[in-house]
Amino acid sequence: MKAKVSITLKRGILDPQGQAVLHALSSLGYTGVKDVRVGKLIELDLATHDRAGAEAEVKAMCERLLANTIIEEYRIELME
């Protein structure tokens, strides 16, 4: 089973990288972009096929290491 973890800064926390990309897009003429958040994508290849167990374990990984929940939020996507 594979897991994709997307990590971005929490809403309300200034994302300077996202702002820089927003400005660059705007200078290229893409003026319809209202906001940009730049984050990280972490792909995990898991030995298990137990979906519920995998979800709980990846969540624990996020809380302990993969994300800093003071500033970041994460989303977990599981695939067979």
Binding site: P16, Q17, L65, I70
Partner: protein, 248 residues
């Protein structure tokens, strides 16, 4: 300074200010400075620990995020819980935040640039083991060198830090005014350094070890190291020995 004082300096893969710290502590201040490799699960006998700057583990994932799980950090946590003095400089500050030994987190600098320059700091609390040689409100000039020094904490944490005088240094103008323009990296409330609730752990982004030696033209950093060594000498911050060397 008595030669019997021993300061342990942690070394992670990617630390690059460890030798500067050793030079400042031993050659400039006259204390003993021992390197402690990150794989050690027990500290040797030391009176204080410095977590130096650098790019531990290549700053992968987040600054300090991987270093905090090194075996030595469990030993440092026990040392700090027993009352021992811990000074985290730059990446050392980031590691202390990731370890939860200090509250808050670091974000990328607002400018997205790596900043390497002198800044002015106002001493907000001179009644700590790290600032006792400073005067309240004194303006120090220290160099910064970081890409992620934009300190963040939620409002409740910030309120607590302020209420308990845990903000030790703020970025300021050369005259000591704390202004948005004097804030190099976007840090919340111009925060450059904080202590924990118990007051025995300091994290700061600027580098005192880089301006302790008179040869380098600025000795402001010496005040912080001298404060630390004098605090050790006072005996008030000796870690309780049983706890400090417990292997859990």
């Amino acid at each position: 300074m008595s030669i019997s004082l021993r300061v342990g300096i942690l070394v992670f893969p990617g630390s690059n200010c460890d030798r500067d710290c050793q030079h400042a502590v031993s050659q400039v201040m006259g204390a003993k400075a021992d390197f402690i490799w990150h794989k050690e699960s027990m500290l040797p006998h030391v009176d204080a620990v410095i977590i130096p700057g650098g790019f531990s583990y290549g700053d992968y994932l987040r600054t300090g995020a991987i270093a905090r799980f090194s075996p030595v950090m469990a030993a440092v946590t026990r040392f700090a819980e027993a009352g021992g003095l811990v000074l985290g400089i730059c990446n050392g500050f980031q590691i202390l935040l990731e370890a939860g030994l200090l509250p808050g987190a670091m974000l990328r600098n607002r400018s997205l640039s790596f900043l390497c320059k002198d800044v002015h700091l106002r001493v907000e609390n001179a009644d700590t083991p790290f600032t006792r040689r400073c005067k309240p409100g004194q303006v120090l000039t220290l160099p910064i060198a970081h890409g992620e020094g934009n300190y963040y904490a939620d409002q409740a944490t910030l309120a607590k830090l302020k209420a308990r005088n845990q903000v030790i240094f703020r970025y300021c103008t050369k005259d000591g005014e704390v202004t948005p323009e004097a804030n190099p990296n976007g840090s919340l409330d111009n925060i450059a350094g904080i202590v924990n609730d118990a007051g025995n752990i300091l994290g700061l982004m600027p580098h005192p070890e880089r301006c302790a030696d008179a040869l380098l033209g600025n000795e402001d950093g010496r005040l912080i190291l001298l404060s630390l060594l004098e605090a050790i000498k006072s005996g008030r911050y000796a870690p309780k020995p049983v706890l400090a060397h417990n292997v859990s």
